[in-house]
C-alpha cells in the first residue's frame, strides 16, 4: 500500500490533472519556486514553468477576479491564496461575482474557478492566520465547499473539482499537511456531496470533517473502551452537504454530535443540527450536541489557542452528555 502525505497527495492531483488538461493553471503568491507557504505545490513550478504556475503580486481581488475572467473565457484556474484569512481581500469577487455568475447570466457561462487556501489553527498562527470560514461560503448559493481530511480524499476531491464546471472553495487544514495515509495508485475522483462512514458504530453519530475527523476518531477509540460505540462520518464537502447520510445514521444510533473547528456559534453544525431536527426528530433520544471553537478572536499563546479550539476531549464530553442517562 502506497502512503503519501496530505500535501503531496494534493500536489499529485494537480500534477496529474495539469498533464491531462493544458487549460489548467495555478496562480498565487510564492508558488513557482517555494511551492506555496505550506509546500502544497512543491515541484509543480519546476515541472510546468512560469506559464502554468503563475506567481502574482499580493493582490487578492485581482487574483480571484482574474481567475473568474479566465474561467469565463475557457481556462481552469486554481487560485492559491495560501491562508484562508486572505480571502477577505477578495470577498466581493468570491461572493458577488464567482458565486453568482452562472445564475445571473442564466447558465450562459461555466465557472470552473478553484480557490485553495489553508484554514484552521496551527502553532500560534494567531488572529489573522488561523481562521475557518467555511460557514460563510456554504451560506452562499453557487459555491461548492470541499474540506478534505485525508490524503486519499484530498486527491480525489481535487480531481472532481478540476473535472467539474463549478466554482469550488477548496479548504485544506494546516495541521493536516504532513498527515500520511493510503492513496490509491489508480486514477480516481471522489464525488461531492457524499459523506463517508469512517468508523461504523451503533450508539451515537459523530458528523465531522477536516481536522476534526482524526480528533473524532481518537475520541471514538477512547469511547469504545468505555463501551460506547460511535459512528464517525466524514462529510468531505459541506456544500453540498450529505444530510441524508447523517439522517440515516441517526435513525440507527438515535444520537448526534457534530464536530468542527470553526466557531460553534453560527457554524455549519447549527445548520446540520436544525436540519436533522426537522427531518428525524422522532428518532432522537437526546438533544443534538455541537463541538466547535469558542467565539473569540484567536490568540497566539499556545495555551490560549488550545483553550479556544476543540479537541478529542471536547468530542468525548459531548458524546458522554448525549449518552447521559443511558445504561451502557
Amino acid at each position: 500500500m502506497r502512503e503519501l502525505t496530505y500535501a503531496s497527495a494534493y500536489a499529485e492531483a494537480i500534477r496529474e490533472e495539469m498533464e491531462r488538461d493544458p487549460n489548467i493553471f495555478v496562480l498565487g503568491t510564492d508558488i513557482r519556486i517555494r511551492g506555496g507557504h505550506f509546500g502544497q505545490l512543491k515541484d509543480i513550478g519546476k515541472t510546468f514553468g512560469h506559464k502554468r504556475v503563475v506567481d502574482t503580486p499580493i493582490s487578492e481581488a485581482a487574483m480571484v477576479g482574474m481567475s473568474l475572467g479566465a474561467a469565463l473565457t475557457g481556462l481552469r484556474p486554481i487560485c492559491d491564496l495560501n491562508f484562508e484569512d486572505f480571502y477577505l481581500g477578495a470577498m466581493d469577487e468570491v461572493v458577488n461575482q464567482i458565486a453568482k455568475v452562472q445564475y445571473k447570466f442564466n447558465g450562459q457561462f461555466k465557472c470552473p474557478v478553484i480557490i485553495r487556501a489553508s484554514s484552521g489553527a496551527a502553532r500560534s498562527t494567531g488572529p489573522q492566520h488561523s481562521q475557518s470560514f467555511e460557514a460563510w461560503f456554504a451560506h452562499t448559493p453557487g459555491l461548492y465547499v470541499a474540506m478534505p481530511s485525508t490524503p486519499e480524499d484530498i486527491k480525489g476531491l481535487m480531481k472532481t473539482a478540476l473535472r467539474g464546471s463549478n466554482p469550488v472553495i477548496f479548504s485544506t487544514h494546516k495541521m493536516l499537511s504532513s498527515l500520511k495515509g493510503h492513496v490509491p495508485e489508480h486514477d480516481y475522483a471522489i464525488p461531492f456531496g457524499q459523506a463517508k462512514i469512517v468508523k461504523p458504530g451503533s450508539d451515537v453519530t459523530i458528523a465531522t470533517y477536516s481536522i476534526m475527523v482524526s480528533k473524532s476518531l481518537q475520541a471514538a477509540a477512547v469511547l469504545e473502551k468505555q463501551g460506547i460505540s460511535a459512528e464517525v462520518i466524514d462529510l468531505r464537502t459541506i456544500a453540498p452537504l450529505d444530510l441524508d447520510r447523517i439522517a440515516q445514521s441517526v435513525r440507527k444510533t438515535k444520537r448526534l454530535v457534530i464536530a468542527h473547528e470553526a466557531y460553534r456559534h453560527g457554524g455549519i453544525g447549527a445548520e446540520i443540527a436544525a436540519s436533522i431536527g426537522e427531518t428525524v426528530f422522532d428518532y432522537l433520544d437526546a438533544p443534538i450536541m455541537r463541538v466547535g471553537s469558542k467565539h473569540s478572536v484567536m490568540p497566539v499563546s499556545p495555551i490560549l489557542q488550545d483553550a479556544i479550539t476543540p479537541n478529542q476531549n471536547d468530542v468525548i464530553a459531548a458524546v458522554n452528555s448525549v449518552m447521559e442517562g443511558v445504561k451502557v
Binding site: 482574474m66 473568474l68 481556462l75 465557472c111
Partner: protein, 342 residues
C-alpha cells in the same frame, strides 16, 4: 501615443477627412440606436413596466461606440452597472435586452439579471456588473486567457470614475502591466459617482494620470467625440495585439440623466447639465457630417425611422414575451454539466 493630460484635439489624434462616410454613418446610427433604446427604457421604467434599477447612459454613447468599433468582434468586454450602451455597441440584440429590462423569459439572461447583469457569451460580452470595480478584474482575467491561449484577442473593461477609486482598479492595472496583458481599461469619467463629484472623490487631476504609476499609457479622450474615442481605442487595440500591454483611456464624458431613474439631481445645477448637453455626441457628429455634405435631412430621417422601428419592435417583443417559468427558479446556481471521469 500621447501620455495623459493632453487635450485630444490639440494632439490632433484624428482628422475628420480620414474617415469614410460609411463608417461615420455607422458611428451615428449605433449611437442613435443606443439613445432611442434608452429613451424607451426610461419611459417603460416610469410607466412601471421595467423591473429593477435602471441607470441610463444617455450622453455617454460615444464612448461605447467609439471603443467597440475599434475592437475585433471576438474581443472580450465587461462593463459596470451603467451599461446598456456597451451591450448594444457590442452587438447584443435590442429585443432581448429590452425583454430583460422587463424581467421576461426571453430576456438576454432569462429575467435573472435585469439591467445591471446582462451578458452574451456568444458575443464575448462577459457582462455588465452591479458592483463598482468588478468589471476591471474580470476583463483582466479575460486578457490573461487571450495571452495564455495565444489568441489575437483583447479584453476591455469599462468602468466609471467611481470604479477608478476601488482597489480592483489598482490591483488590475498593476497585474496587467507586469504580465503585459492585452487589456484596455476604459474609464468613462461622467463626473459623478452617484452624487459624488470626481473633483471631490479623486486626488489626481486626471484619472488617466494614474496610468503612469502602472507604467502604461494613460490617454485622455473627449468622451463626447466618437471619433476621438475611436482613434485612441484603435491605438490601444494595436498595442494590445502587438504584445505591448495594457492602456488606460479616460473618456471625459457626462451623463445627461441622473444616476438612476428617479434621481432628484440636487448635487448638480441645471446649467451645468445644459452646458455639457451642448456637446451632445450624436448632434455633434450629425452636424459635422451635414457640414461636410455626408448627411442630408432625408438621410437622417431615414436613419431615425429605421432605428425607431427597430426599438419599437424590441419593446413590442418585450411586452408580449412570457414571464419566466417559476419551476426554473433554482436552475443555474450550479452548472448541470456532469463531471467527467468522476
Amino acid at each position: 501615443m500621447s501620455i495623459s493630460s493632453q487635450d485630444a484635439r490639440q494632439e490632433g489624434r484624428y482628422s475628420f477627412d480620414s474617415f469614410d462616410s460609411q463608417l461615420l454613418k455607422r458611428f451615428l446610427k449605433e449611437m442613435l440606436r443606443i439613445r432611442v433604446f434608452e429613451q424607451r427604457a426610461e419611459e417603460l421604467t416610469l410607466s412601471g413596466k421595467v423591473v429593477g434599477g435602471v441607470h441610463l447612459a444617455i450622453g455617454q454613447e460615444a464612448v461605447a461606440v467609439g471603443v467597440m468599433m475599434a475592437l475585433k468582434e471576438e474581443d472580450y468586454v465587461t462593463g459596470p452597472h451603467r451599461g446598456h450602451h456597451i451591450l448594444i455597441a457590442k452587438g447584443l440584440e435590442t429585443s432581448k435586452l429590452m425583454a430583460e429590462l422587463l424581467g421576461k423569459e426571453t430576456g438576454i439572461v432569462g429575467g435573472r439579471g435585469g439591467s445591471m447583469h446582462m451578458a452574451d457569451a456568444s458575443k464575448g460580452m462577459l457582462g455588465v456588473n452591479g458592483i463598482v470595480g468588478a468589471s476591471i478584474v474580470i476583463a483582466t482575467g479575460a486578457a490573461f486567457t487571450a495571452q495564455y491561449l495565444i489568441r489575437d484577442q483583447a479584453a476591455v473593461a469599462f468602468f466609471g470614475d467611481g470604479g477608478a477609486n476601488k482597489g480592483q482598479f489598482h490591483e488590475s492595472l498593476n497585474m496587467a502591466s507586469i504580465f503585459k496583458l492585452p487589456a484596455i481599461y476604459v474609464c468613462e469619467n461622467n463626473q459623478y459617482a452617484v452624487e459624488t463629484s470626481v473633483e471631490y472623490s479623486t486626488a489626481a487631476e486626471h484619472i488617466a494620470d494614474r496610468g503612469a504609476g502602472y507604467r502604461m499609457p494613460g490617454v485622455i479622450v473627449d468622451g463626447l467625440d466618437v471619433l476621438d474615442v475611436y482613434s485612441a481605442a484603435k491605438e490601444a487595440r494595436l498595442r494590445a495585439g502587438s504584445g505591448e500591454g495594457p492602456t488606460l483611456i479616460e473618456a471625459k464624458t457626462y451623463r445627461f440623466k441622473g444616476h438612476s431613474i428617479g434621481d432628484l439631481e440636487n448635487y448638480r445645477t441645471r446649467e451645468e447639465v445644459q452646458e455639457w448637453m451642448k456637446n451632445d455626441p450624436i448632434i455633434r457628429l450629425k452636424l459635422s457630417m451635414e457640414e461636410l455634405g455626408l448627411l442630408d435631412e432625408n438621410g437622417w430621417n431615414a436613419m431615425k425611422t429605421e432605428v425607431e422601428q427597430e426599438i419599437e419592435a424590441a419593446v413590442q417583443f418585450a411586452v408580449n414575451s412570457p414571464e419566466p417559468n417559476v419551476e426554473t427558479v433554482m436552475d443555474h446556481n450550479f452548472s448541470a454539466e456532469v463531471t467527467e471521469h468522476a
